[in-house]
Amino acid sequence: MRIEHREGVAALHGHCRVADAETLASLLQQSPGITLDVSGCESLHAAVVQAILAFRPPVVGAPADPFLKNHLLTALAREAAVD
């Protein structure tokens, strides 16, 4: 995974693997207001998805992969909208 920082936004690029979950969790902990841009993601390991569910940052962007775009991000958006 490669992370690009713009102001207030961390863009994730490439394959986000299990080890990246720790990096992401640290990032989200230190920058609580940050938005994640996932348009550059090629895959998201469940541990990374889990970190997103736990820290609940805003998530933007539409990745190319159909599973990510049509199912996983929809599922994340659904959880974000709950309570």
Partner: protein, 635 residues
């Protein structure tokens, strides 16, 4: 935390079980209404979820069985006249279990056995024709309502990541994926302690592929997956009109104690702001103080207005619908009727009527007694009823309606009515009235005799009516709330008890004091303090007496003697200091007995002009308590 969960469960659980019970009774009686079946299902489903969450296993089991039965009925609605009694038994039992939880925070010891009985009764019943489903491990229909296909719940183990599993990739590999849900299995907790490698996910998915294919895709994690085969809801030929949910008011659940605290503060504000009138007078009396005094008065008038508004608003907030109170009675009536062996049904109406919380709180016991009484004494046995050409099942109607600023709550039965001859005879037998007086009474007056204390010791003390709580107690309770009880009866047709109550109770804070063997109520806002004055500090001044309170000389009046009592107050040293015309006056009493909130009714008729008396209220023992006007007594 646990207590809060339970408290919340008790509130919501009661609502849901009342809803379910009411729906089941209606379904039993009338045409099968799909919207009602659906509402009932959802209420039971929610109850089941909460019971499971809180770990009340027997309750959960019974509710699971009820939910399954309702689910099947919902999918394939039965014909009119279907027997819902097994489901109703579950709803009633759940209400009883809620009572037990409220009383003891635990289910009764026989709960498991009772649950077994309920489940057996439910599953022994032939359900509506349901297509036999493949073995289902979980309730997929709840997560994907109305959808068809294979529903999967994948809960990876906590060490899934360490095993090299990527649950996302596994989900991505599902054939025919129609919908995906991903959530945390447990709340994340303290984020500072977040463990990124401990798997804490639940993945739910719906697939349109054949089940064997889906199972194949998940074979490596089969032990962490539950399956359910769902059938899409068949479109209904004539969709039943969905009953509009009650117009959602913007509402909050508020702890009743907080409203009481607010009401308390509002009352204290009234007393505090009253003190300003006096200050304003004192200021005006100073040299050059007129302008300032008038400015103070103007401010006080404004405060008056605001406090009045606040009081009214808090009063509004104390208004609460009667529905939860009334809703308890159908089940109670079922139980009492079963105990007495008399088939009967209790219908309620007017639950949306709102009254002051104090009224709602104070009405349960009187209403319960009236319902018991109707079933025990009013309603005839089933055979007597059919012989008289009445339906075998008796009907009791518990209704509420507003009438101006009052509410009328009626308990009406279609029983035998009140027999004036029997009442007269009983009153004579109990020595409540003598023969001459009894003969002089007309029928309506005879019926009123049932409210006399001592009337209602039943000949047969049934466990239902016989505890010596009589009609007199019912009347006293209603009068204490500022209302009255009226009874109407027709021989052979039934009796109706009307409770007429003010919607808002105006409660006055009183201190109850003793003068000899008599008790009197003093309005608290007239009382500045209760002081202790030793006999040696009392100085006679001509025929009167006075004492020194801090730096002031205060006249002392014996309260009992001011009221015309002969005996002087005992030397208890207790003095109630009131402000009369801006000056303190001490009233000597024997003792302060109590502090109460009561509804004070003004004297009317011949007694209206009585000096020194502001009104009356009822003491807890039912006796009349005079509420005094201290300023009249002092002058």
């Amino acid at each position: 935390m646990i207590d809060e969960l339970l408290a919340q469960f008790l509130i919501e659980g009661r609502e849901q079980s009342l809803e379910a019970g009411a729906d089941l009774v209606a379904l039993q009686r009338g045409p099968i209404d799909r919207a009602r079946l659906d509402r009932c299902f959802r209420a039971v489903h929610t109850l089941k979820g909460s019971a499971d969450l809180l770990g009340y296993k027997p309750m959960g089991r019974a509710l699971h069985a009820a939910e399954d039965a309702l689910g099947a009925l919902r999918d394939h609605p039965p014909a009119d006249g279907h027997d819902f009694s097994a489901l109703l038994a579950v709803a009633d039992q759940v209400e009883r279990w809620l009572d037990a939880l409220e009383a003891a925070a635990a289910l009764p010891d026989d709960a498991a056995k009772a649950a077994d009985g309920l489940v057996a009764r439910l599953t022994g019943q032939p359900l509506a024709d349901a297509a036999p489903a493949a073995a289902d491990d979980w309730d997929g229909a709840a997560v994907f309502p109305g959808r068809g296909g294979v529903a999967v719940r994948y809960t990876p183990r906590a060490d899934a990541y360490f095993s090299g599993d990527d649950p996302t990739a596994i989900a991505a590999g599902l054939p025919g994926l129609a919908e995906l849900r991903v959530r945390l299995a447990e709340p994340a907790g303290e984020l500072g302690l977040y463990d990124p490698f401990r798997c804490n996910l639940v993945i739910e998915a719906l697939s349109t592929a054949p089940r064997p294919q889906v199972e194949e895709a998940l074979r490596l994690v089969r032990d962490q997956v539950a399956f359910a085969s769902l059938t899409a809801a068949a479109p209904t030929a004539a969709p039943a009109p969905v009953a509009e949910p009650e117009a959602a008011r913007r509402s909050l659940r508020i702890d009743a104690d907080r409203i009481d605290q607010m009401a308390d503060l509002a009352d204290q504000l009234v007393v505090a702001k009253n003190g300003l009138t006096e200050l304003a007078s004192q200021v005006e009396a100073l040299d050059g103080g007129r302008a300032l005094g008038q400015a103070l008065r103007a401010r006080q008038a404004e405060l008056d207005r605001l406090v009045g508004s606040l009081n009214a608003t808090v009063g509004q907030a104390r208004l609460t619908p009667l529905a939860p109170l009334l809703g308890r009675f159908p089940r109670l009536a079922r139980e009492i009727a079963a105990e007495l062996g008399k088939p009967a049904v209790l219908e309620i109406e007017g639950g949306e009527v709102e009254v002051d919380k104090a009224v709602v709180d104070g009405l349960f016991e009187p209403l319960l007694h009236l319902v018991r009484n109707a079933l025990d004494h009013g309603v005839e046995t089933a055979s007597a009823r059919t012989a008289a050409g009445k339906p075998g099942q008796a009907k009791i109607r518990l209704s509420a309606r507003t009438l101006g600023d009052q509410v009328v709550i009626a308990v009406a039965d279609d029983g035998a009515g009140i027999d004036p001859q029997r009442v007269r005879a009983k009153a004579l037998a109990r020595g409540l009235i003598d023969g001459q007086a009894a003969a002089a009474l007309d029928e309506a007056a005879v019926i009123e005799l049932i409210f006399r204390p001592g009337f209602s010791t039943a000949e047969t003390v049934s466990s239902v009516s016989g505890r010596g709580v009589g009609m007199d107690a019912v009347r006293a309770a209603v009068v204490r709330l500022g209302g009255r009880v009226e009874v109407r009866s027709q021989r052979g047709q039934g009796a109706t008890f009307n409770l007429v109550l003010p919607i808002r109770t105006v409660l006055t804070r009183l201190i109850v004091v003793a003068c000899g063997d008599e008790r009197f109520g003093l309005p608290m806002d007239a009382v500045a303090e209760v002081a202790r004055v030793a006999a040696r500090d009392v100085t006679p001044i001509r025929e009167r007496r006075a004492f020194v309170l801090r730096d002031q000389v205060v006249p002392l009046v014996d309260l009992g003697q001011a009221l015309g009592r002969r005996d002087p107050a005992r030397d208890s040293g207790r003095v109630v200091v009131a402000r009369v015309g801006g000056e303190p006056v001490g009233f000597e009493i024997d003792a302060v007995v109590d502090r109460v909130d009561a509804v004070v009714r003004p004297m009317n008729g011949l007694l209206a002009g009585t000096r020194g008396v502001a009104g009356t209220t009822l003491a807890a023992d039912g006796s009349v308590l005079l509420v005094l006007d201290l300023s009249e007594l002092a002058s």
